[in-house]
């Protein structure tokens, strides 16, 4: 492949024009990622395209977008894996600011609702709070989340329920509930075992499927449900 077509979603809600796709012919380099292709267009063909980026190493979560029908990180996606035509659009179901940039405000607002910080009742000791390596392992998967918003955007329950907290925030809630050092499970379960919380999750598994860090988010949400039921019963 010497060249491929990159189709980019174009939209500015403030200029009165309809959304459209612009197509560009991009020279291919071995190992080229979608993010690199976007820069190729920005630098050499069209300075008007807008997208987010930062680390280019799949850890900052800035460049989540919708690529050939899937939620992915642009920096983590090899052009080669997509074939001769690549189509990029912004994360679905979030308000578009311009082109590939979405407004993440609802995502962050919900993240804040679950009290995303360690709450310990006891005064911290002089040194570290000890944690058994086995206990530490219990949060290993959840702390791998990069808050990119792919899961949030892929969840049909988010699309239809404006105040549903969504998978990322709930995963964060479970990250703390499962942390042996945290004492605020009750408080958090009270927030998440509501209509806007875990009970809205219908285990569609989209979140787990699209997660660029391969986190089984649905599993964590199931754990929260179990704990919530137990708490309600006893």
């Amino acid at each position: 492949m010497d060249e491929f077509t990159l189709r980019i979603f174009r939209f500015d809600p403030e200029d009165g024009q309809e959304p459209r796709f612009d197509a560009y012919r991009v020279p291919y380099r071995d190992g080229m990622t979608v993010l690199e292709a976007l820069f190729e267009v920005l630098d050499h063909q069209d300075g008007s395209i807008a997208f987010r980026f930062s680390c280019r190493g799949a850890v900052c979560g800035a460049c989540a977008m919708f690529i050939n029908g899937s939620h992915r990180l642009a920096c983590q996606t090899q052009v080669k894996s997509l074939g001769p035509e690549v189509t990029v659009s912004p994360l679905p179901h979030l308000p578009v600011i311009r082109d590939l940039i979405v407004d993440m405000e609802p995502f962050w607002r919900k993240y804040e609702e679950i009290k995303p910080y360690l709450i310990a009742n006891s005064e911290p000791p002089e040194k570290e709070r000890p944690q058994d390596p086995e206990d530490r392992k219990k949060i290993d998967e959840m702390i791998n989340c990069i808050l990119c918003g792919a899961c949030y955007s892929s969840c049909p329950m988010v699309w239809t329920g404006e105040d549903y907290l969504g998978p990322a925030a709930l995963l964060k809630a479970y990250r703390f509930v499962a942390d042996s050092r945290d004492d605020a499970s009750e408080e958090r379960l009270a927030v998440v075992s509501t209509e806007k919380g875990v009970w809205r999750c219908h285990t569609v598994f989209n979140c787990a499927e699209v997660c660029p860090r391969s986190i089984n988010i649905t599993w964590s949400l199931q754990q929260l449900k179990k704990l919530a039921v137990r708490k309600a019963l006893f």
Binding site: G47, S48, G57, V59, D99, M104, P116, R136, D179
Partner: protein
């Protein structure tokens, strides 16, 4: 016009830690080009140094300080290195108390691993995603403490009048409007300048713009010629393969199948400091013992699948995603790349600069604790130790300030900036900014890189001067306001060219080899003439240099052998 008592520019580890120090008592706001968790700190992998002595009880903060000073090739200010090592312990425990999910030893204590240039397993880690764990923790804490954050604001001017700082002017990337912020104190925590080089492990946003803004406001940049090249970046994308991979026992192998570090650092081997390993790899490649003339191998296979999956899962993922290689079954192709900016905005151990009310911390600052070469694991440490200290200093300064900042000074700055940015946005000359950027980054890597000499440095300076000239005649391709990346990147480029020139001229000036600065025409360290910091002051014709003594207290310079 918005007014906050303390404005912190940068939402990485240094910025958030500084904010947390002042937020209980003052009105604090963070301005950042990206959402805080998108900051480059997120990418730190291997860990953070602190002599907790969890693995080896012989370790102590004094030894940590000594290793840091030796690693710095004696250019570190010794009190700065001592503060770094001593306060490391409290800062790491504090981050644990705030929730940082460090990996653990069997006895439940924070796990520690060996890192290059350290005498003991001293590097605390959260598998190979330490920055991710730590930055999320710091952000979580800032949510708890309700730190106000203005996202996607690019600060383009520091407002200084009569030697005092009054605020900043920022470009709101979303709206394209310029915004003025009045502040009683400003702290810059804007990170490194890696993207001035064509091959860099740094985030794309690491353009050194904060350094450029401070430099233009009259604050000197210190020791900028010291640029760290990391020995092991993934061939192709230059994504970092952490030193932790060698800490866990990885080998470096050339195309003749040799563990070549034998020749360069027979006792420390792969765990010699970064400058030494990077030069060794570059030499192997140059002398024809690389693969395809470009890279050598980082071999982890003998560690076994279990250890790789448990200790280095991130490395494995990156190798799989970006090179299609599984380190369990194949060696990883690696090459050196720019990694860290030792130099930066000149400040003291409290982040204090020559401008009253203007403080700095983190990678954009030069305290200097790292001198001519930073040890792995000391940088995210620096962000939280010195971030806290800068926050504290700003707090004290604001409480003692007699009069408020000058609204008029900030308004005038806003006017100046508006003219400047409008001029750039509508620039219709003939030069393509992307072409200038490509030439600059290439000349910096090729001629102001791992090995340097007068001839190449002079050629690089000539190119940079010419590029600066061409920069005055730019043509931008997009004139819109909202999220105009063309404009933002062109503006950054102007600063990058100035910072690049400081690096290249400083490198030419310093006729010795020390730490990361390796001159093939002056191969020895020269303590008699060069045991001093360089300070670069901006003038319209490029930097003017001055010098500053290195503070030496306990440890007299010795030859540095590993």
């Amino acid at each position: 016009m918005k007014h906050h008592q303390v404005i912190i520019v940068g939402g990485g580890l240094a910025g958030l830690r500084a904010a947390l120090e002042a937020v209980d008592e003052l009105d604090v706001a963070v301005l950042s080009q990206v959402h805080p968790v998108r900051s480059h700190s997120i990418a730190a992998q291997g860990g953070i140094n602190a002599a907790l002595a969890n693995v080896s009880d012989e370790d102590s903060w004094e030894r940590h300080a000594f290793d840091t000073i030796k690693g710095s090739d004696y250019l570190a200010d010794q009190p700065a290195a001592e503060i770094l090592a001593r306060e490391a312990i409290d800062r790491v425990y504090e981050s644990e108390h705030w929730g940082c999910p460090y990996s653990r030893l069997e006895n439940g204590k924070i796990a520690q691993r060996p890192f290059g240039g350290g005498g003991f397993p001293r590097t605390c880690y959260a598998s190979d995603r330490t920055g991710h764990a730590l930055l999320h923790t710091m952000y979580e804490r800032s949510v708890l403490k309700k730190v106000k954050v203005y996202e996607e604001r690019m600060v383009i001017e520091l407002v200084v009048e009569d030697g005092t700082c009054h605020g900043v002017v920022a470009l709101n990337l979303v709206t394209g409007e310029l915004e003025a912020y009045l502040a009683d104190a400003v702290i810059f925590t804007t990170g490194g300048a890696g993207r001035i080089y064509s091959k860099s492990t740094n985030a794309i946003i690491n353009t050194g713009s904060g350094m450029a803004v401070a430099y233009r406001a009259g604050v000197p940049l210190k020791d900028m010629e010291f640029i760290q090249f990391h020995p092991t970046s993934l061939y192709g994308t230059n994504i970092l393969m952490t030193e932790g991979a060698r800490g866990e026992g990885g080998y470096l192998i050339n195309s003749e199948g040799e563990r070549f570090m034998e020749k360069y650092a027979p006792s420390a081997m792969e765990l010699a400091p970064r400058d030494i390993v990077a030069r060794a790899i570059q030499t192997e490649i140059k002398e024809g013992r690389g693969f395809e003339g470009e890279y050598v191998h980082l071999d982890l296979r003998h560690l076994g699948a279990e250890k790789i999956m448990e200790r280095l899962p991130g490395i494995r993922e990156i190798a799989l995603d970006f090179a299609g290689i599984d380190p369990i079954t194949a060696p990883i192709p690696i090459q050196p790349a720019q990694h860290y900016t030792m130099g930066g905005i000149d400040c003291d151990v409290d982040g204090v600069t020559v401008v009253k009310g203007f403080f700095t911390a983190g990678e954009c600052a030069c305290v200097s604790a790292h001198g001519a070469n930073r040890l792995g694991g000391n940088s995210i440490l620096e962000t939280i130790v010195y971030g806290k200290r800068a926050g504290e200093a700003a707090l004290k300064y604001v409480k003692g300030r007699e009069s408020g900042p000058s609204r008029r000074a900030v308004e005038e700055a806003l006017e100046r900036c508006t003219e400047l940015v409008e001029g750039l946005r509508t620039a219709d000359g003939s030069e393509d900014p992307a072409a200038i950027r490509e030439e600059m980054t290439k000349v910096m890597f090729d001629k102001v890189g791992i090995f340097r000499d007068a001839e190449n440095l002079k050629a690089a300076i000539e190119t940079l001067v010419e590029l600066k000239e061409r920069y005055r005649n730019l043509r931008l391709s997009y004139r819109g306001k909202r999220y105009n990346l063309d404009l933002a990147r062109a503006w950054e480029l102007g600063g990058m060219l100035e910072v690049a020139e400081v690096i290249a001229r400083g490198a030419l000036l310093r006729e010795e080899s020390r730490g990361s600065h390796a001159r093939t025409d002056f191969t020895e360290r020269d303590d008699e003439n060069w045991l001093k910091h360089t300070l670069a002051y901006r003038t319209d014709d490029g930097p003017r240099f001055d010098f500053k003594e290195v503070i030496i207290t306990k440890y007299q310079p010795q030859a540095r052998r590993y």
